[in-house]
Assembly symmetry: C3
Homo-oligomer: 260 residues x 3
C-alpha cells in the first residue's frame, strides 16, 4: 500500500477542488507537495468540463458560501456521471441546521466514495436519513470503531474518521492510524488538506480504503515528524508542508503506525 | 489586564469572521495561535445560527465583495440582536466613495463595540454623519489623541487607532501602546489579524477597552519581537505567527510598553 | 533597466488585482515584498473608482468564479478608459472551452499591455480570432521564439512566455531570461505572482517590455537563488518571498542571465 506514494509522483493526478476560501491555498500546495496537481474552480459554466478531466473531486463546505451551494451539488453529480471518485469533507456539520440540511442534500443527491471528518462530524452524519435509511442516533457507550463501521455500511462508502486514533473503514475492512499530534489542530486546514491528499491517492488506485488510509497517514505522520522541540505553529506549518514533500515509502515503513 | 491572554487559552472563544478573501487564512491562523477558535462563513442561510453561537463577530470590508455586502450588514444586526460584541475593520474606507457609503450604512445600522483601523481610516470615519450626529472634519493641527477621543465619543464605542503609537480609547479612558515595528506594514493582513485578536479577547471579557488594548499589544509586541537582524518578510510572517503562539503574560509584562 | 527595482520602492505604485481566491494572499505579499502596494477588489460598485486610482491592473482567471466574469471584463475596459496598463494571466486557458471563450471575450473587449502565461497558454491564445484577425494554429516544429513573436504582433502587446527559458517580446524587440528553477512549479501561485510583479514595474515606467522583463527576472532569479540544498517546498516558499524582498539592482546584475 505504501508504494502508492510513488504512484502519485509518477501519475501526477488532477485533483479538482470545490472548497472553502480559508484553506484553498493550503489545499493547492499540499496537493503539489505530494506530487499531484490541484485545480480549483468556482465556475458553474465549466463544471462538467473540469470534472471530466479530473482524476478525483473534493467537496468541502467550510465557509458555506451561499453562491456555491448549487455548484457543489452539481459538481458531485457530475463526478458520479463521469465515474470520478469524490470525497466529502463536511466541515462543522453539527454547528448549524443550515450545514446539516446541506450535507443531507449532498448525501442524498451524490454518491461519495470517501467521507472524511473528525469523529464528531462523522457520528453526526451517521444519524442522517440517507436515501430512506432512517434517522439513527448512536450510543456514546458503544465503541467508536463499531459506530464508524455501522456508519460506513449505512452510507455505503469509506469513512475516514480522524482523531486521537484515525479510523478508516468500509464497514468490513478497517485500518487504524496511530500517528499524529495535537498540534495539527493548532493550524487551520489540516483536515481540508487531508481530503486533498486522499483525493491525490484516489486518482491513482481503485482501492478506496487504501487511498483514504494513505491520505490520513500522510498528514498524521508528517505532522508528527514536524512536532519537535515545542515548535511554534508558524514554523510548524512550514515544516508540515516540507515533510509532505519529502515523505517517501521508506519513511512511512519506518515510522508509520498503521493497524490493519 | 495581561492575564486575559490566559483566559483566551482557557475559554477558547469562538470568533466569527465576515471578512475578505485576501487574509482570511491568516485571520484563522492568528485566532488559533492565540488559543481561540475561528469560524468563517459566507452563508446568508446560517447567519443567525452562527452569530448566536459565536463569542465575538469581526466584520472586515477588505475586498468589498459585491456578493457579501448585505450579508455583512445582516451579520452585524444579528450580533446586536444576540448581544455579541462586534468589531469593525473599515479597510481602505477613504479610498472610494463606495467604501465610504458602505461603512456609513454599517455604522448607522449596526452598533459596534470596537472600531479598529489605522489613524487615517479612523479620522475619515470620524467625520461621518452617524445616527444624525452631523458631519465633522478634524483639524490636522489638533493632537491625534484628542481627535480619536472625540471620535470614540461620537461613535459611542471603543476606537483602536493603529500607527506609530497605537491609541485605544472609549473617549474617557485611554491606553497607548508604544510597541511595534514598521515591518508590520510590509506584509498583508496584520491589521485584519489585529481585529481577529481583539475578537478573541472580547470573547473573554466585558471590559471592551482592555480587550481592544490586548489585541493591539499582542500584534504590536509579537511583530516587534520578530523584527530582528533585518529579517526579510517571508520569514517575518512565520516568526510573527510563532510569537503570537508563544506570547504569555510574562512576556507582555517584560516587554510591553503600555501607557494607561 | 535593472534600476527599475529602485523606482518601485520609491514610487510605491498601486497594483489593483482582479484575481483568483487561491493565490490572492501570495499576490498581495509579493507586491508588498517588491515595494509596491496591492489592492484587491471584488466589487462591481467601486470598479471605476479603484481603477482610476491604480497604477496598474492585473486580471487573472484562475478559478473562473462565475460571480466575477463580468466584473473582470468591466475592470479591463475601465483600465483602457483610464489609460492604466493592464496585464492578463490566462490561467489554464486550454483546459476548458469555458476558459477559452472567456479569454477570447477579454481579448476582444479589452486591450492588454501584457499577456503573461506559460508557453502552452500563450501558444493556445495565439490561435484565437482576436478582433477579426482569424484563427491560427502554430507549427510545433517551428522555433518557440518565432511563434511567440508572431503572437505578440497579432495580439499587439508584449507577451511574456514563461518556461525553461522565459521569452518576453513585443514582436520586434525580445529579451530572454535564463534564470529559474523547476521548483517554481512545485508551489502554487508563482505564475500569478509574476503578473503582480510585472504590474508593480508597469506602475513605474512606460517601457512595457522592460517592465515585463523585470517582473519575470524578479521571480525567476529569486526562485533560483532560493533553490539550494534540496530545500523542500514549505521552506522554499518562505525563501522565495524573502528573496524578492531582498532583491536589489546589484544582485540582478551579478546573477541575472538576461539576453537582449
Amino acid at each position: 500500500m505504501y508504494n502508492l506514494i510513488n504512484d502519485v509522483k509518477k501519475k501526477n493526478p488532477l485533483v479538482l477542488h470545490y472548497t472553502n476560501e480559508v484553506t484553498i491555498n493550503d489545499c493547492a500546495n499540499i496537493t503539489l507537495a505530494l506530487g499531484a496537481s490541484p485545480l480549483m474552480s468556482y465556475s458553474k459554466e465549466e463544471v462538467e468540463e473540469v470534472v471530466s478531466i479530473a482524476n478525483a473531486v473534493v467537496i468541502n463546505i467550510g465557509t458555506m458560501n451561499s453562491s456555491y451551494l448549487d455548484l457543489f451539488i452539481e459538481a458531485g453529480k457530475m463526478a458520479n456521471k463521469y465515474n470520478k471518485p469524490v470525497i466529502l469533507d463536511p466541515v462543522g456539520v453539527f454547528a448549524t441546521k443550515t450545514r446539516k440540511d446541506f450535507i443531507n442534500r449532498l448525501l442524498n443527491e451524490v454518491k461519495f466514495q470517501v467521507i472524511k471528518g473528525n469523529s464528531s462530524e462523522i457520528k453526526y452524519i451517521g444519524g442522517f436519513d440517507v436515501r430512506g435509511k432512517g434517522v439513527d442516533s448512536f450510543d456514546d457507550e458503544e465503541d467508536l470503531l463499531e459506530i464508524i463501521k455501522k456508519i460506513a455500511i449505512k452510507l455505503e462508502c469509506v469513512v475516514a474518521s480522524t482523531g486521537k486514533i484515525d479510523i478508516i473503514t468500509d464497514g468490513k475492512n478497517t485500518t487504524k492510524v496511530h500517528n499524529g499530534t495535537q498540534k495539527l489542530k493548532s493550524i487551520t486546514g489540516t483536515g481540508c488538506m487531508t481530503a486533498s491528499l486522499i483525493g491525490s491517492y484516489l486518482g491513482c488506485t481503485n482501492n478506496i480504503l487504501q487511498a483514504a488510509t494513505m491520505g490520513v497517514i500522510t498528514m498524521s505522520l508528517s505532522g508528527e515528524l514536524a512536532d519537535k522541540e515545542e515548535i511554534p505553529i508558524g514554523s510548524f506549518k512550514v515544516k508540515l508542508m516540507d515533510n509532505v514533500y519529502k515523505l517517501n515509502e521508506e519513511t512511512i515503513k519506518k515510522f508509520g503506525r498503521v493497524e490493519m
